[in-house]
Symmetry: C2
Subunit: 308 residues, 2 copies
């Protein structure tokens, strides 16, 4: 799947992933109204609104991008109907030919991590049947529990030719609280990065590993270091746009081959119509605003890479 992702990045010339992280206050009123008219102001109504909103965006941008990253928290907040909307979104994006990165940040121990891996990437055995659950292409994984928590994911990745992105240095302001603490002269995130490179060496695609890393756009200096620590690791970079990252901050996340990183933008794309820059589209044409924002982001990154 890492090979597929890279192919699609080359084809679209866009190392971009759109974060499908729907919040109720992003969703245009006409969509909310319609969903509530059908299902009431219920969890089902919210789930329907999320799904229609996502579908509009995906239809408007799928030809421009290689991948999407639905953040499952935004679906879980609406309970079971929300999780149903997550599944629908995953399925629809795959139909549209997109690589789906489930941003689930799971991580547990042994058989429990295996259950997450099976449910999100692999197949569960039910009697004599092997059945897919959520069936994303990649998922994000939290490393706090160590190798026991990560290796069951890698096992399933090998079987399914799928991949993971392990949290190394996250984009949030307090990410340093534990991740930057110095151990044997090195920050913890660097140790985690070394482990990611080690885990990744066990399952290589053509040029990059199935085991990727998450490093926030908001920490370009750390990105520079981690790029060297993990040369064969694809880096998923959140924090572009709304969280403050710019194209110029991102060049060090890429390798000389122009690959090795994929930049996520969520709010900046899916709620673009709320920005002054794209306000002309209006809320009815929110998806066209998203398309314009993807084109601008592609240009911003291409320019930054060209002028490095």
């Amino acid at each position: 799947m890492i090979n597929t992702l890279i192919e699609k990045i080359k084809k679209t010339n866009a190392p971009i992933v759109v974060g499908l992280d729907p919040m109720m206050n992003y969703i245009p009123e006409h969509i909310q109204k319609k969903a509530f008219a059908e299902y009431g102001e219920t969890l089902k109504g919210a789930a329907e609104a999320i799904w229609q909103y996502n579908k509009g965006i995906v239809d408007a941008v799928y030809d421009l991008i290689p991948a999407v990253k639905p953040q499952i928290a935004m679906y879980e907040q609406f309970g079971l109907p929300g999780v149903e909307a997550f599944q629908k979104t995953v399925d629809y994006c795959k139909e549209k030919g997109l690589v789906v990165i489930g941003d689930i940040k799971r991580g547990d121990i042994g058989s429990t991590s295996e259950a997450y891996a099976v449910g999100h990437l692999g197949k569960a055995m039910v009697g004599s049947q092997a059945l897919y659950g959520f069936n994303e292409d990649f998922v994000t994984v939290n490393p706090y529990l160590g190798s026991d928590g990560v290796k069951p994911f890698i096992k399933v990745c090998k079987e399914e030719k799928k991949g993971i992105f392990v949290l190394v240095k996250t984009s949030n302001p307090s990410s340093g609280e534990f991740q930057d603490r110095v151990v044997d002269g090195k920050p913890l995130y660097e140790l985690v990065g070394e482990k990611v490179a080690e885990w990744g060496s066990e399952c290589m695609g053509d040029s990059y590993s199935y085991v990727g890393a998450v490093v926030g756009a908001t920490y370009p200096e750390q990105g520079k270091i981690l790029r060297k620590v993990m040369p064969k690791t694809f880096i998923l970079v959140p924090g572009y746009g709304a969280q403050g990252g710019k194209g110029a901050d991102l060049v060090h996340f890429f390798n000389e081959d122009g690959l090795g990183a994929i930049i996520n933008s969520s709010r900046g794309i899916i709620a673009a119509y709320k920005q002054e820059k794209y306000a002309k589209f209006g809320s009815e044409s929110y998806a066209d605003a998203s398309r314009a924002a993807v084109l601008d982001m592609r240009e911003d990154i291409a320019q930054a890479l060209a002028s490095r």
Copy 2:
């Protein structure tokens, strides 16, 4: 909710939580057969089997214990129908008067952590309605992302009078890979423990905080240290029984008041009928074996506490 949990522990004289972590190979054949006859060898069939299995156990032990801890990974492995079985299990256990600890090990940043908190503990706004999602009483939280990731949970805990257990030192063999690394002369888990105590001081129940910690039974020495670092923190202790922890290892997790810890057993209780000790019950009476195992566990812990 921490007050409620403590009351129930006193009433049952059992600082015990039963981990409802159903694996297909734990589920007696008669339950699987019936579920598959109704729904086929499908995810729905698996979910039905899990739910019936859980119900049998809960009916057999609910009067002996204060709380249950369903591990959501074991449900997610069966996709959406599995998550539906999780919700049914949560709802049923609450009906039976049990405190429900959702073992979800979530953790993300800012608004995303808030979405998890809202979905699992609090209420989501849908139009003018505030609606509960999964509605557990407690959840487990991963601290790798720092305060940004934990505080949104605490905010919802304050509103809802619910609680969290933050991963500090996990029970698995490789938990030391990152958690034991020494920072400024102290292992990382101790720094996380200090943070848990700090976060917890913001929202106290009568004698313990709404913010608890997870520390594995398999690390009694670390438990002893952490007990002192976090004196007002309730510690959720996994790893009893099948993972190797014994009653005698657990005494240091408790405070002088005989409180401050709640011990989880999953496989040791729910699959007790598979152990030689309880084989006489047979698979048809698997739930009676679970009841006997709870009684033995209660006795083991009481004896260990009495003889310290």
